[in-house]
Point group: C2
């Protein structure tokens, strides 16, 4: 009997610890709609993110939308149809930069979509306005430019300013990145109830880009890592280490991402980096690159980061 | 013994007829890389075509390239790797118009591609040059514009002029189409060894477009149908019959395609239309539209056309 009471108590304590750890870990639900860089037309960068237990998402980049939502629905990631997810659950797109592999799904799916916001830096919105929603590449579903259909409302971002993400329980703070100097990219810090997730669009390393933009991001987020409120970092690795530095085209390799993680660790404390979730995005699926990159990251993870490889349509929590 | 000789002779005659019919029917090999309209990112309009027994293809539109080639290779459509097919077998892209769902795969796959030609009307090439290969939407892999990398050479087309398709055994003659007046599309008449295949990009019906462009195509190809040298027509049906005429946006429905086929039959002779292959492209896969469109085409086929629904990565002969 004593043993039984002891078991009951210890099980309860274990359950309590487990529940509180789970609660502590799960601030966001993420549904990747597309995870690759380059030419994999049906699986290009796009990640739905919402607070856990909310159906009000934003989509981080919009490379692949429809195919990703269909795979996610087939996987049981949503208790809804693909049309409901695309039209009702996604409240806005956050576009890191206007290269075609980050926007094509959003553009081609606009005709059947509902009204939404597009958040991006002004230069990025100019490219979307001038080169996609212009009646030549596609009908103008934007809120500006020639004869706008005004389905998508452009929301220009200012670096460092925290703004609400409309119709969601999240806020957004944006950092400027260098993606093949002088081409500008963006990183998005999403916050809900005191927890954050950080999503990077394409970026090269500071040393190659002759830039301090990544360093500025590390300075801004180091306190969040120390406070254990940053739940994860989405960051790109496009090429294996064999890619020469003069042919990075504004991208990272396993070596370069780990150099940058060490720069971050110098500010945040190595002891706080262990188990930080690093979600690897934008692998260009040429030849055996996916396998090679995963091996190189695993071999070079002295910091003990928790490396995550997202898959199209497979939800995970942060 | 007499019976055995009789059997042998009749089998031989049957084989000869079969072989000659096969030879008569097979002028082209077609490998669809993408077959749908609208937002199905990994399955958008693109069709590889070459003379049978040739590996020198052109690609009709370039909505989806990589994913289509991968599916085709997995299906055994080629005795080669996906990289070999994309880089070596495709000698050029024929672009009917520059809407994103007809070019996005070609654009995003350019970095890993080899030198090729892009054939299109001058207005279409201007859109590709100004809005895609411009260093803002994508690096400039074209042969003109700002700092061109000159991987793809632009070949401007003139209506009605027959030109060789470089590095292939085919020639090309192009017709201007109306795709939401005044937006221009194109139809491509491909010829090899006296046989032809006709591919249409997006187009609305003449009556709605206030145009005579389809009628002009019918006049040009009627003699080929009479002569039994036209092997097939690729033509779009984007919406079911329920789509109102004032919301066609330069597209066809089953009713409208059959009205146009009747216009063609009036010139070519109804008796010559039976068994003409009509390859249906660009169905927008919203809701149950694919099933509905197939039913409506089947119910409205008094001409006895041989209706073909291409599938991504499944080769067929014409």
């Amino acid at each position: 009997m004593r043993q039984r009471i002891y078991n009951l108590i210890s099980t309860s304590i274990f359950s309590l610890i487990f529940v509180s750890v789970s609660l502590a870990q799960s601030a966001f639900n993420v549904v990747p709609l597309g995870v690759k860089g380059g030419g994999a037309e049906g699986n290009l960068s796009a990640y739905m993110i919402a607070p856990v237990n909310s159906q009000a998402y934003v989509c981080l980049d919009g490379g692949t939308v429809r195919q990703g939502v269909e795979v996610a629905v087939a996987n049981g990631a949503f208790a809804a149809t693909a049309d409901q997810v695309s039209r009702s659950f996604i409240k806005g797109f956050l576009i890191s930069h206007a290269h075609l592999d980050h926007v094509s799904g959003m553009i081609t799916n606009a005709p059947e979509d509902t009204s939404k916001f597009i958040y991006a830096f002004p230069k990025c919105l100019e490219i979307i306005k001038n080169h996609y929603f212009n009646w030549e590449s596609w009908p103008n579903f934007g809120s500006e430019g020639v004869n706008p259909l005004k389905k998508y409302t452009y929301k220009p971002l200012s670096e460092g300013q925290e703004i609400p993400l409309e119709n969601t329980e999240m806020t957004l703070k944006t950092f400027s990145l260098s993606h093949g100097n002088p081409y500008e990219g963006a990183a998005f810090l999403i916050q809900t109830h005191g927890k954050q997730a950080l999503y990077f669009g394409d970026t090269g390393p500071d040393e190659i880009e002759k830039s301090t933009r990544l360093q500025k991001v590390w300075e801004a987020i180091a306190p969040l890592i120390k406070a254990k409120t940053l739940t994860g970092i989405f960051l790109e690795v496009s090429y294996p280490n064999e890619q020469p530095d003069n042919k990075l085209f504004g991208h990272l390799t396993p070596n370069w991402i780990m150099k940058e993680m060490n720069n971050l660790a110098a500010l945040a404390g190595k002891e706080n980096m262990r188990d930080l979730k690093l979600i690897i995005t934008h692998i260009k699926p040429t030849g055996q690159n996916e396998v090679i990159i995963k091996g190189q990251l695993s071999d070079n993870n002295a910091l003990g980061l928790q490396i995550v490889y997202p898959e199209q349509g497979t939800a995970f929590e942060l």
